[in-house]
């Protein structure tokens, strides 16, 4: 992993070739020392007694080492799907929106479902970075970078759908207030125009936030490449084949490319404390303005529906309910991505501990119940409001199964899939053993992701498919193009995420280092920072280290 590392023992430890702290490879479901129930202890955020250099080596290693086999396989699957999805999009643009299963009644279906689904996922990244930063949740440092990356890729996927849904995409510039010879301006009283501004602002600000957070880490990658070039220890390009052989191309020196590209992107960052001061201020400001931004974007998406008079769409709780749902779905996607990465990437478990996963599981439980609260409120008010159309949507278009009543909802399965995935499945996290088990968390996250897609489907299609006159009732059936574009968007997302994992710093290194105990210039409080206390009754007493800190603490 670390060609630069002067110390052979450390290099092997980092490579996992030598037992010790690096070999903290814990089985699924068992503790790694961070899962303390003792309120007196503060779990460590980085395990394995890592030094700053080791953290750098681990994180930079992901971007510097040749692509591992699992990455090549995953990329080999994801990128063709992305390509196929792009072909479907092209086909749809060339042929027309009629290639989708839309009909006169259901004129929004999978397209807008997918849009809201992806934009919702896109909220967790900025939320982790921004709100958790404001709330001083230090554990965010382990997940914020990948979550922010995920945000941007999800927003890219989201942007596809309304873009192509308007038909005649070459007129998409009509969406912006650009002076033109027809003297036509966009309608600022339309929720869809607010969407244009909200989503594009969100994409821009998220990208700025992500990029700004990466500047110091890109500088680290630049400096490492530079150092290897100066020492003359740069390796030529190599690619591992499935046979275990390597393709090596001598003409290409990746470090030269790295020094140039990372150098360009890191803007001459030189780790100066005067710069850090302004950088931290800017970061906090961006966190501060991103928080209302996250709220506003999904609220505005909810306005697309809630400003209408359509039963099932018009309800005042939509803005916070959509925001809670977005956080819910976004965290599920973060877990869905990070738990497998934790298994396949070396030393990942030292940086993303079980405590991190447990915290995220708790957020899933909390936001899941907020979503459940909103479902309940909607249902209650649909009855309490005594508006029979509203009540009809909730019972006869959504909840009542056709096998109970012949006036039931043909989409009852979608509604109950949503309820069981979003409200029931997270309830397993009430149990400590289950929310500490990465496999269980991953399965629940998968359910939640599916459930959140169904939520949008239920909101959009079940409200639309039956208008006020029974003569206008139509079912929606997706076509191959519908499915192809949706699956393709998953491929695009996965491809972009894999590229990110391979070429950019997967962890916010600088922030990780800043929350390590060794980063404290006043250097005490060792006993809060460690989870290595011997178990009471098993080890029979405090180890020397703690005895020492406790005494030191008594002294001041």
């Amino acid at each position: 992993m670390s060609a630069l590392h002067p110390d052979q023992v450390t290099a092997e430890r980092l490579a996992g070739l030598r037992p010790g702290a690096a070999g903290r490879d814990v089985d699924m479901g068992l503790g790694d020392g961070t899962l303390t129930e003792d309120p007196a202890l503060e779990s460590p955020l980085v395990l394995g007694d890592r030094s700053f250099d080791e953290v750098t080596d681990i994180v930079c290693g992901y971007a510097e080492n040749p692509a591992p086999k699992w990455w090549l396989i995953a990329f080999g699957i994801a990128s063709p799907i992305a390509g196929l999805g792009t072909l479907f999009i092209l086909y749809m643009i060339i042929t027309g929106v009629g290639t989708w299963g839309l009909n006169n009644q259901v004129d929004w279906a999978w397209d807008i479902t997918n849009f809201v689904f992806w934009i919702g996922i896109g909220h967790a990244g900025t939320l982790i970075s921004a709100i958790l930063c404001l709330l001083k949740q230090k554990w965010r440092t382990a997940v914020n970078r990948s979550a922010e990356a995920m945000t941007i890729f999800a927003v890219i996927c989201a942007g596809i759908f309304p873009g192509i849904h308007v038909g005649r995409v070459w007129f998409a510039w009509f969406l912006f207030p650009i002076p033109n010879y027809n003297w036509i301006w966009p309608n600022f009283r339309s929720p869809l125009l607010w969407d244009v501004f909200a989503v594009s602002t969100y994409a821009t600000v998220s990208a700025l936030f992500w990029y700004m957070g990466m500047i110091p880490d890109l500088a680290t990658l630049r400096d490492r490449a530079d150092a290897r070039l100066r020492k003359g220890i740069s390796k030529p390009f190599s690619l591992e084949l499935p046979t275990g052989h390597f393709v090596v191309i001598d003409a290409i020196t990746p470090d030269k490319i790295r020094a140039f590209v990372y150098g360009l992107l890191s803007l001459g960052w030189r780790a100066s404390s005067r710069h850090w001061h302004r950088y931290e201020a800017a970061y906090l400001i961006l966190a501060g303005i991103s928080t209302p931004l996250v709220l506003s974007v999904h609220s505005i998406v909810s306005f697309d529906f809630a400003t209408s008079v359509l039963p099932g769409w018009h309800t005042t709780i939509f803005p916070p309910y959509f925001v809670a749902g977005a956080i819910f779905g976004g965290f599920a996607m973060v877990l869905l991505l990070l738990i497998p990465l934790r298994q396949v990437m070396p030393n990942f478990k030292d940086l993303l501990t079980l405590r991190h996963l447990e915290n995220m599981a708790k957020i899933i439980l909390l936001t899941g119940m907020m979503v459940g609260f909103a479902y309940g409120m909607e249902f209650f008010i649909a009855w309490y409001g005594a508006n029979e159309y509203e009540a009809f949507v909730f019972t006869n278009n959504r909840a009542l199964p056709t096998w109970i009543s012949d006036k039931g909802a043909p989409y009852w399965w979608a509604y109950w899939a949503m309820i069981s995935c979003n409200v029931l499945s997270p309830q397993v996290f009430w149990f400590r053993k289950l929310r500490q088990n990465p496999l269980v968390i991953w399965i629940v996250a998968l359910f939640v992701t599916i459930g959140m897609w169904f939520e949008r489907f239920v909101i959009i299609v079940t409200s639309l498919h039956r208008a006020f006159l029974p003569g206008e009732w139509h079912m929606f059936f997706p076509t191959l193009t519908d499915i192809g574009i949706f699956v393709g968007s998953i491929g695009i997302f996965a491809t972009l995420f894999l590229l990110f994992v391979k070429f950019l710093p997967t962890f916010a290194m600088a922030e990780l280092k800043a929350v390590m105990p060794a980063a404290d210039p006043h250097g005490h409080h060792g006993d809060h920072q460690t989870g290595h206390d011997p178990q009471h009754g098993i080890a029979g007493g405090a180890d020397q280290k703690h005895q020492g800190t406790a005494n030191a603490e008594g002294g001041h």
């Binding site: 903290r24 390597f246 809630a306 018009h314 008010i381 309490y384 206390d533 011997p534």
Partner: protein, 452 residues
């Protein structure tokens, strides 16, 4: 040059290693005892700095109680000389202002415990104390319910609850499954039971920790708080439907519970800020509650007092305004005529724009006096907000709907409620240490700093 090599030394494969079993680490008791001893020796955590004498402010306390009772008596007088509906509405504003403070305090107590929050540990005791006073507004609610009960028994219709009538129309008949007196009493008993249980049990566990130093109580509170927040969300939402939204039984809004919660969270933070400012200005809590803690408290006040409230209020108003469905719009129409439009504009400007512009400043948040002034300002706006919700309902259905009318009744009722609450809060303040003295996270809290 492209070549193929075997065993190229670039990749890393993690080696499997033995798994570890166990419940997770625990600090040994003797080590924890040492930490507590170190905390007990901390010079800041001694004497009057953290504990008021029992008699502290006894005169003011008594005075406030007298003012409170007197003002509430004046409110009752208002019922006689002016209008019982108006007086009951003013009284409900007062009750709900205090209830909002107590519920918000209960929420933050549970939230901080549930998420293992570090920096607010020093604020938590006063939140617990304020939550523990929830019996006071509950008594007020009992009074409201009893007045409505007797009114409907003897006159056939409610005083303020318009759904209590002998002549229900189509709408009320459809809603009678929920809006009926028997079910209301059952629901009220459930709300009161849950709130009292959560608030009192968390307070008593926290006080017990002060005495025994048992850190596992923190864990017990955390567990209670986790399901407590769920119970809290449901009861607060339905209580706000029962006592506020159903005042106009035609109106409905799914956002309603969140709207009331936003005000409650803000009021609790405002009262906490005022309490701690008074303590700090009188020389208490030196070295314990610092400008750094105030900075963060101010951020919460900014977030809940200006931003979150505005977000929720705007979303509710905007969706109703835009969709323009008559049964919903009527709610805002009442408040845009007869003088209420002035209060509406005051709320928009005074509850959002002004506090936003002022509280965004770092200097204000870190200043003991300015923070308290802003907190008091926001508390007044909580009263105005509730007035805006409740009082127009006193005249709906009357032939020429009147405007604010004899507003002196509103003033005396709210002053009375808040004075009585302040009096009891001062007594609670002196009854226990001002901060959770043996909280396992206290040591970290004391060193809290904002680095940017």
């Amino acid at each position: 040059m492209i070549r193929i090599e075997k065993n190229y030394d670039g990749t890393v494969t993690p080696a499997p290693s033995p798994a570890k079993h166990g419940e997770g680490p625990v600090m040994t008791d003797d080590l924890y005892e040492k930490r507590l001893a170190a905390l007990a020796a901390n010079p800041a955590l001694q004497g009057e700095n953290v504990r008021l004498p029992e008699s502290a402010g006894a005169g003011i306390r008594g005075g406030l109680a007298v003012v409170g009772v007197g003002c509430l008596a004046l409110t009752a007088l208002g019922a006689v000389v002016h209008s019982p509906t108006h007086a009951l509405a003013s009284f409900e504003v007062a009750v709900f202002t205090v209830l909002a403070i107590c519920l918000g305090s209960l929420f933050f107590t549970m939230l901080f415990q549930a998420i293992n929050a570090y920096w607010p540990v020093t604020f938590r005791r006063q939140l617990e104390q304020a939550a523990g006073l929830i019996w006071l507004p509950l008594l007020g609610m009992v009074a409201v319910v009893l007045i409505e009960l007797f009114s409907s028994l003897f006159t056939g219709h409610g005083v303020l609850f318009q759904w209590l009538t002998e002549d229900p129309g189509y709408l009320l008949e459809k809603k009678s499954g929920y809006l009926n007196l028997g079910f209301l009493l059952v629901r009220f008993a459930i709300y009161a039971g849950i709130w009292l249980f959560l608030a009192r049990s968390i307070l008593s566990m926290s006080l017990e920790q002060d005495a025994t130093g048992n850190r596992m109580l923190t864990r017990a509170i955390r567990r209670r708080a986790s399901w407590g927040i769920l119970a809290f969300a449901l009861t607060v939402a339905f209580a706000s439907f029962d006592f506020l939204m159903s005042l106009d039984f035609r109106f409905f809004s799914t956002m309603w519970g969140v709207y009331f919660f936003a005000g409650a969270a803000m009021s609790a933070l405002a009262v906490t800020t005022i309490t701690f400012s008074v303590l700090r200005l009188t020389g208490r809590l030196t070295g314990i509650v610092t400008d750094e803690h105030y900075h963060d408290l101010g951020k919460l006040l900014f977030a809940f007092g200006a931003c979150f409230w505005a977000y929720i209020a705007f979303s509710q108003y905007f969706l109703i305004w835009y969709s323009n469905i008559p049964e919903e719009t009527a709610y805002y129409v009442y408040r845009q005529e007869g003088g209420w439009q002035v209060l509406s504009m005051i709320l928009v400007i005074g509850h959002f724009i002004i506090p936003f512009m002022i509280l965004i400043s770092r200097k204000v948040k870190r200043n003991v006096l300015l923070a308290a002034v802003m907190a008091a300002y926001l508390l007044i706006f909580q009263v105005l907000d509730l007035t805006w919700i409740i009082r127009p309902m006193a005249y709906v259905g009357v032939e020429n709907p009147a405007g604010p009318g004899s507003w002196w009744i509103d003033v005396v009722a709210s002053v009375g409620g808040l004075a009585l609450f302040a009096s009891f809060l001062m007594r609670a303040l002196a009854s226990a240490p001002l901060i959770p003295m043996k909280d396992p996270r206290l040591a970290t809290t004391l060193e809290h700093k904002n680095y940017v």
